[in-house]
Amino acid sequence: MKKIARSELNALFAAIAEQKQLFIPADNTAGQAEFILWKDGVALTEKLNTTRSAKDLFFPQVENLVNFKVSDKKMEIIENRDPAAPFVVFGVRACDCRSFDILDSVFLSEPVDTFYKARRENGIIVTLGCTKPAETCFCGAFGIDAANPAGDVTCWLDGETLYWKSNTDKGKALTAALSVLTDCDENAVVAIQENTRKILEKLPLNNLDLSGFESDKLMELFNNPAWTELSESCLGCGTCTFVCPTCQCYDVQDFDNGREVRRFRCWDSCMYSDFTMMAHGTNRPTQKERFRQRFMHKLVYYPSNNNGVFGCVGCGRCLQKCPIHMNIVKVAKKLKEVAK
């Protein structure tokens, strides 16, 4: 384990930035935290977490896959991928760190998504243990320990000191190159962790009961009458999906600028009316079906295909950001209530 004085954080960031691009959670002009490319003067946010998750750095909202030049009957495929620059993302919380397991299971399974893979290989995730979790946090329900996150490197921060512990080879290599860090004892963070865990215990949603979503209940849950009521006020916006660290649905769209055609991959949202639009219409015609798809996916379909691991990490973003305050916690509770 290593450490550095909190007052020296800037020096640490400068040292990392010397080697790789560094993103840290910092406050933007709207007073929200987001991952910002560090340069001198960018300060670590006081906020618990970023509005948009760390997913964006690995699976950006829009990316140019390939271009085409079309002339007459002939066409040409132009691959113009940027070689991904190595980067470090600092301050990822335990929940967001877990989201990469979920994204990996999708994108790194065959056939591997090379765009995502390149970023994963080039990115080093430095997590930061939580000290002031919010009432909306429920990572505990997924067995995530906010006091002891995973990642290539794990950090803890208290009033005076940042503690730094590398977990992986990538993390160790980074650590080795950072001479500003000094050695310290593993036990130094125990107090921080205990303090966090004490607060976690008090969180209203920490012990959210997620039993009853096993795959043998799939049809029962799908046909649960509560979906109508739950989805009734859903606006059909994509806020929950876009701030979600695990949502990864995408669409491929072409843009013809008259000289070449650019093919983009962009995020899609199951909440949008044209999500599953096919040549002859859609099979999810109302918001109820779309709404159900999102939560069934997180709570049932994904676990069914992934050894019972839920497609949610309890970060609480959708709890805070949904314009009508409908969210996975309310859905899970209501489904169970009605099922009984």
Partner: protein, 662 residues
């Protein structure tokens, strides 16, 4: 994807001198969808057109782009060319490489490059063109004339002459309008009644003309060729079919104190009346506001004296529905009210009169039997002051900003007639300008000044004060640069004229547009002066703007000619480039309807198949293609993009934009 042929015209050297036509046709051949591209000396020539037609067949073309002169020049030509070859005319687009390219550029490279871009834009548009067919709508061969003044009568007579049925709706009990109240007409000084009443009789006797007197237009539905009009015939309490017009009732009616509207209140009439001797129809009417029988149920004298048994106190308003192919508005004018012009003492002295009142005072059928007498004491006036532009050309907000056009001439007429009949009178005319454009008008005015010795004074009357039976007139003489004080016996005010008050609500019913002065606007101020922008609505007389009698009659005949032209057709070809809503996108919010200048948009509730076998009822815009002129105002007002314009669709215009900016 279309199969497009591109035809580049040299226009002799007009285009070829500044545009490398060969290069243009070669470059455009590379565009997606272009299967044939060529150039030729004169595309519009017989040989050029044949080449286009052959290519359509040979290459199975679905779209044609012609790079040539302005579409305003030959679009119609090339459309016809293609139609003859079996290709819909609206699959043709013109790239204007002459007026907007070769003629404005000198450098051949620049011109060529631009011609290519314009060609590309046309190709991009053609890709999205769809065949359009103009609809046909049948024409109801009957016309409605609203207003039975000289304008309406003339229009009706001309239409009837051409063999079409025509109805006149007149709100007064008789047709004839303002002209019936006029004594003599300028510049010939012939008697108004002598030239008008025969026309009134003609109208009444014409088999093709039906007169709805004492009636108003209640509502108008439909569109050009197919108007559906409801006419309200007001109860006159006299059975028109029985009344012989003998006039006995109008003599026996005990209610004698009814101001006579025909004489502008200068004398009284009975509660049952025939407005004047030559009224058409010559039928009595009971004035419900004054009739004691109708008000209290006591009297019934007229009923008793009527040998024809025509009196019917229980008569009700009657609604008549009728279909028309065309509607002519001939609602005429009125002098403005003078309550804002108290400096002229109009409300204080009966000897201050308006010009129209003066007409009645001079008229042999008027309250004074044609002898000019002062309303106050019945004496002969010796000094008469005419004030011009009362409320005309007025920018202080009390009157009208426009020139009423007829006042200069009728005042000259009045002045002249006074001097002729009563040479002992002094006549003063105060004017801002004397405007006399018109055949024999200036001569007429000069006669008034030179032969009849009328005192024309440039300047305005400041104040008229009734004093000791005289009217003290203070005025300025601008040319003499002095103040004048005249002791007049009578003051005659040339009040501005304004459209009849019924015009504005009528315009709303017709969805015809009006200007801020409530005059109907014409489709084009120069080129279509007797048509309203609303198809099938025509304008006759002073409802369109101030006019004298000859102008009114000329316009009335012109409107009739337009109506006849319309009614001659069995059906109308509609403009194919009309707006069309996408039913699935329409919200029914009414934004489009509010900006449509033609009232072409209506709404209907329609059933839709909703998700999961439900049925939804939604309010939806519907465009009547027979009425829509294709301006596109609605397409921008529509937030959901449901409304689009055929031939100039959103996608077509954006495709042109894309091609130009590429």
């Amino acid at each position: 994807m279309q199969r497009i042929g591109v035809f580049v015209c040299w226009c002799g050297s007009n285009i070829a001198a500044t545009v490398d036509v060969e290069k243009v046709s070669q470059v455009l051949a590379q565009e997606p969808g272009v299967v044939f591209s060529t150039n030729y000396q004169y595309m519009c020539s017989q040989a050029g057109q044949e080449m286009i037609q052959e290519s359509i067949h040979k290459y199975n073309l679905t779209g044609v782009v012609i790079c040539s002169c302005s579409p305003r020049m030959h679009e119609a030509t090339f459309r016809k060319t293609c139609e003859k070859a079996g290709l819909n005319g609206h699959m043709v687009e013109i790239a204007n490489i002459r007026e907007q390219c070769s003629w404005i550029h000198k450098d051949k490279d620049v011109g060529t490059e631009k011609a290519v871009v314009l060609g590309r834009a046309a190709i991009a548009k053609v890709h999205l063109n769809a065949p359009l067919t103009a609809g046909q709508s049948p024409v109801k061969k009957r016309a409605l004339v609203i207003g039975g003044g000289i304008a309406g009568i003339q229009t009706a007579l001309d239409i009837a002459d051409a063999g079409f049925d025509v109805d006149i709706v007149e709100k007064q009990p008789t047709i004839g309008g303002k002209m019936t109240q006029i004594d003599k007409t300028f510049p010939t000084l012939d008697c108004a009644a002598c030239i008008l009443t025969p026309k009134m009789v003609d109208a009444a006797q014409n088999e093709k003309i039906h007169i709805y007197s004492y009636a108003e237009v209640e509502s108008v539905k439909g569109f050009v060729g197919n108007f559906n009009v409801t006419i309200k015939k007001k109860a006159r309490y006299v059975d028109e079919t029985k009344c012989t017009g003998c006039g006995l009732c109008t003599e026996k009616c005990p209610q004698k104190k009814v101001p006579n509207a025909f004489n502008l209140g200068l004398d009284n009439r009975r509660a049952i009346y025939i407005p004047f001797a030559q009224a058409v129809p010559k039928v009595a009417t009971i004035d419900a506001d004054y009739c004691t029988m109708l008000k209290s149920g006591k009297c019934g004298v007229c009923s008793k004296v009527c040998t024809a048994g025509a009196i019917d106190y229980k008569q009700k308003d009657e609604l008549i529905e009728q279909e028309y192919g065309a509607i002519v508005v001939a609602t005429g004018f009125n002098p403005i009210k003078l309550d804002k012009y108290d400096e002229f003492a109009y409300s204080q002295s009966p000897d201050v009169v308006t010009s129209l009142e003066f007409e009645r005072l001079m008229n042999a059928a008027g309250p004074t039997g044609g002898t000019l007498l002062r309303p106050s004491d019945g004496t002969h006036p010796h000094t008469i002051v005419f004030v011009q532009c009362v409320g005309s050309r007025c920018d202080d907000g009390r009157g009208k900003s426009y020139c009423s056009k007829i006042c200069c001439m009728y005042t000259a007429k009045h002045a002249m007639l006074c001097r002729e009949k009563y040479p002992d009178t002094d006549v003063y005319v105060f004017y801002i300008d004397v405007r006399t454009p018109g055949k024999n008008f200036d001569e007429f005015y000069r006669r008034a000044v030179e032969e009849y010795g009328v005192h024309y004074v440039k300047g305005m009357v400041g104040k008229v004060v009734p004093q000791d039976g005289k009217l003290k007139v203070q005025a300025s003489d601008l040319l003499g640069d002095r103040q004048l004080h005249i002791d007049a016996d009578m003051v005659v005010l040339a009040a501005a004229i304004e459209p009849d008050e019924t015009a504005r609500p009528l315009a709303t019913k017709l969805t015809a547009s009006m200007d801020t002065n409530d005059f109907f606007t014409e489709a084009h101020p120069k080129l279509r002066p007797v048509e309203s922008p609303t198809a099938g609505i025509f304008l006759s007389g002073a409802c369109q703007g101030p006019k004298d009698i000859p102008e009114t009659v000329a316009q009335a005949s012109a409107a009739a000619a337009k109506v006849i032209g319309l009614l001659c057709k069995d059906s109308l070809t509609c403009n194919p480039c009309t707006a069309q809503p996408d039913e699935l996108m329409c919200n029914g919010c009414s934004s489009c309807e509010k900006v449509c200048p033609y009232g072409a948009i209506t709404y209907a509730d329609k059933e839709f198949r909703g998700p999961n076998r439900t049925t939804l009822i939604r309010r939806m815009a519907q465009v009547n293609p027979a009425v829509c002129q294709g301006c596109g105002a609605c397409t921008v007002a529509c937030p959901s993009g449901a409304m689009d314009l055929k031939g100039f669709s959103n996608k077509q215009i954006m495709a042109e934009v894309d091609a130009i900016c590429r």
